[in-house]
């Protein structure tokens, strides 16, 4: 079962991208047979007996909880993780603070090990741990009230993360002016929220949507935008430079925001950012603050590999290698601004926030 332990099949196939494919990709008939076995859009609650990640003490599996939350297409994976960890605290039978913290740490490690390629998952778990445990409430004598405080903070963090998209939507409205043309890449729920809100506010703009091979998530996005009566134009990935003249700004989401201020996003983002920079078009990134991670890639190969199989539609001879990486790193000098729930930031502020948090 793919949802249970992708690491056992092939450690490099990124479960994160499989999930995104499952939620947003356009499934062609060729894929269907493979897809139906590999991805399961509406799974029943998986049984926990065979799952090696079960928490032995409490019979509560954080992975199950996580999977339950994760399969809502609207919910970001990281928020699902946060909700799962919050559930760990409530379901915990620990009697001392140390024990609770250890349980939490174990749960967090399990989640991170479930998919090592997902940056936002790791980042969100780490941030959750720091946010929840950095409270003076831990000095309370009474364990139960301390635990209640922790649960309160955990829920609050979950709420903040969930509402992050709305806040980002509101903050970015000023940047979308009447008559502008926005280029988007990949299907980011945050970006969709921004555009939805702009359409709702009766702004007149049009969107160029890249196809987003191999997931072809762009097709899904163009579909959704068309339903909102936003004029959409689909461009293939190679036509970005051709159309860049007419574009006023580029708006992308992020899978992770790294310490240098750069972003890790779907393959193709770096290319678009390079073209935009050379033509002096601003590149805006819409990302929630829980995606800030403590990585510092120096070049493209510095990331942990996250592969996803590419289907060319025709059989490829086995001698031919295929570049299967699902994501790339865009250095901070190509980004103009980051729209986050902490405000509209420049890329250099990411490190500032991380240092303050990990102080």
């Amino acid at each position: 079962m793919e949802t249970e332990a992708p690491s056992m099949e092939n450690p490099k196939i990124s479960a994160y991208y499989q999930t995104r494919l499952a939620h947003f990709g356009v499934v062609s008939t060729e894929w269907l047979a493979q897809a139906q076995s590999a991805t399961n859009p509406n799974p029943p609650l998986p049984s926990s007996s065979t799952n090696s990640h079960t928490d032995k003490d409490t019979n509560f599996s954080v992975i199950d909880e996580f999977n339950r939350w994760r399969n809502h297409p609207d919910l970001a994976e990281a928020v699902a993780a946060i909700r799962a960890l919050a559930a760990v605290i409530s379901a915990s039978k620990a009697s001392t603070m140390m024990q609770l913290e250890i349980e939490l740490k174990n749960a967090s490690d399990t989640l991170k090990a479930w998919d090592t390629t997902s940056i936002s998952l790791t980042a969100a778990s780490d941030l959750f741990m720091r946010y929840v445990t950095r409270t003076s409430a831990l000095e309370f004598e009474d364990f139960n009230s301390a635990k209640a405080r922790l649960i309160e903070r955990a829920d609050k963090f979950g709420e903040i993360s969930y509402k992050a998209r709305k806040i980002i939507g509101m903050l970015s409205q000023d940047f979308i002016f009447d008559g502008c043309t926005i280029l988007v890449h990949g299907f980011s729920r945050v970006v969709f929220e921004v555009l939805k809100l702009a359409a709702h506010n009766k702004k007149r703009f049009r969107v160029f949507c890249t196809e987003g091979r191999p997931d072809r998530t762009g097709l899904r996005l163009s579909n959704d935008l068309a339903k909102l009566d936003v004029p959409v134009k689909l461009v293939i990935d190679s036509a970005v430079a051709y159309t860049m003249d007419e574009v006023d700004m580029v708006l992308v989401g992020a899978d992770g925001v790294v310490e240098s201020g750069g972003i890790i996003n779907m393959m193709g983002t770096y290319q678009i950012a390079l073209v935009a920079k050379s033509m002096n078009k601003p590149v805006y990134v819409a990302a929630e603050s829980y995606k800030f991670a403590r990585h510092y890639p120096l070049d493209q190969k510095d990331l942990a590999p996250a592969l996803r199989p590419v289907d060319f539609g025709v059989p490829i001879p086995s001698k031919v290698e295929v570049e299967c990486s699902a994501r790339d790193y865009t250095p901070p000098q190509y980004l103009t601004l980051l729209f986050t729930d902490l405000g509209v930031l420049t890329p250099s502020v990411v490190s500032d926030e991380l240092i303050q948090l990990y102080l």
Partner: protein, 457 residues
């Protein structure tokens, strides 16, 4: 409040001791400390001591908050083209320095001394300088001889010497430990400064020591205070230098991949540790060691790396653009990192960083957090150190290259041997510190967040 009291006590020192014609080096150096660390304007009117006392008193009455702030600020560096101040400094100096004959015009604000006569001169004074503690004298001598190089080593040696001096210190009767000790430490520091100008990051260490002294509770006895100070200094050296180096090595080793070609320049102890530890872990990489005249420091690094079995290439800095296309990463050390992200390091570093940037090779600067400073430098001219120009004129081992034998007699010829240069932040990809890997734009954040804690540990 304590600053005003301190001020008045030092002023008291001046009034009492100034007429006695300069045999007490402590007082003179105390005045030097005052000159360097307090208001400059009051000293410009410095003629008869009475005037200066009045001026200083007036100023202290009016603006205590600014005094507090000024005390926090690092002392003003002495500008050597100001004739008045140079003259005064000479009279107070413990080390006789003769000015170099052919001074470079552009660098007149920096001390340029004749290097030949300095060391024998100082050695001859071994038994004459009572005011200087023997450990401090030894450190000064070693600095001047060039035995110790590299900020970490210099800082550690200096702090150890101060530790010994503190242990041997005893408060004279009727005096308060805090003020006396601070004055004494200041005098030692100015002595060391005369032997070899302090680097920016050593100033941080000295400020730490002075702050610790100032924060000693008055109720402590001598012995208690001294043990507290010594343990503080030990902790500083341990936490900020030794352990910090280990943390940096841990972070930076993750960036070394199999098949890498790493370039390094100069002799940085941290970079050496990183290379050796990555090799120990079993990563396969090779090293390009770049060197430059006249110091040829990297040869020592090269010997040590080869002894451990790393495969190295050795070249001089003129070939950097030739070899840079093979290089995958550049590791450099730093003497100090300033608030706008610029890196002050051995001369030639800027060159390497710029060539690396032109070839899109990432540049990693490895330096401990205590070297971060709030200053901002825009060029290499304001704050630098001039080495021995004679070293440029000769090539060791080649007696036939003697075209510059009589360079001192040529009026139109000046030889310039700079020790440091400044690398702008655009050419630095990442700074690896004991707080983690940070972009150069985040240096003021570290200074802000950890600056206070740094002095209050």
């Amino acid at each position: 409040m304590s600053s005003i009291l301190f001020l008045q006590s030092v002023v008291g020192l001046i009034v009492v001791l100034y007429p006695a014609n300069g045999n007490s080096a402590v007082a003179e150096s105390g005045k030097a400390a005052l000159a360097k660390s307090k208001n400059q304007s009051s000293l410009k009117k410095d003629g008869p001591p009475v005037t200066s006392e009045v001026t200083i008193d007036k100023k202290s009455g009016n603006r205590p908050p600014e005094k507090e702030r000024k005390k926090d600020a690092p002392p003003q560096r002495m500008q050597f083209d100001d004739q008045n101040r140079v003259g005064k400094a000479k009279r107070r100096a413990l080390v006789n320095q003769t000015e170099a004959k052919n001074r470079v015009e552009l660098f007149r604000h920096l001390p340029q001394y004749d290097h030949g006569s300095q060391l024998p001169n100082l050695e001859s004074k071994l038994f004459q300088l009572d005011s200087v503690h023997p450990a401090v004298f030894k450190v000064g001598l070693r600095y001047m001889a060039g035995d110790i190089s590299g900020v970490n080593a210099r800082c550690t040696e200096m702090l150890r010497a101060l530790q010994e001096a503190i242990i041997d210190y005893s408060t004279p009767p009727e005096k308060v430990l805090i003020r006396e000790l601070t004055a004494k430490i200041s005098s030692y520091i100015s002595f060391i400064n005369e032997c070899r100008p302090l680097s920016i990051s050593m100033g941080n260490a000295i400020r730490f020591v002075k702050r610790r002294i100032a924060k000693l509770p008055l109720s402590h006895t001598d012995v208690e205070a001294k043990t507290a100070l010594c343990s503080d200094i030990d902790r500083f050296i341990n936490e900020k230098i030794i352990i910090a180096d280990k943390v940096i090595v841990g972070h930076a080793s993750t960036k070394v991949r199999d098949g890498d070609v790493l370039l390094t320049y100069g002799l940085s102890c941290v970079v050496e540790m990183i290379l050796l530890s990555a090799h120990d872990v079993g990563k396969k990489f090779r090293v390009v060691v770049v060197d430059s005249r006249p110091k040829l420091e990297s040869q020592a690094l090269l010997n040590r790396l080869i002894a451990k079995g790393l495969s190295c290439t050795y070249t001089h800095i003129n070939a950097v653009s030739y070899i840079m296309h093979e290089v995958t990463k550049v590791f450099l050390g730093a003497s100090a990192v300033l608030s706008n992200g610029t890196v002050l390091s051995r001369v030639g570093t800027a060159c390497i960083a710029m060539v690396a940037h032109a070839f899109s090779v990432p540049v990693l600067i490895c330096c401990e957090a205590f070297k971060f400073h709030e200053r901002v430098l825009l060029d290499s001219i304001c704050c630098n150190e001039i080495g021995d120009p004679g070293a440029l004129a000769t090539v060791p081992g080649r007696m036939d290259i003697n075209y510059l034998e009589n360079w001192t007699n040529e009026e139109n010829l000046q030889l310039l041997n700079l020790m440091y240069d400044v690398t702008p932040s655009d050419y630095v990809s990442v700074i690896v510190t004991d707080h983690g890997m940070i972009p150069p734009t985040s240096v003021p954040v570290i200074v802000r967040e950890y600056g206070q804690e740094h002095y209050l540990i």
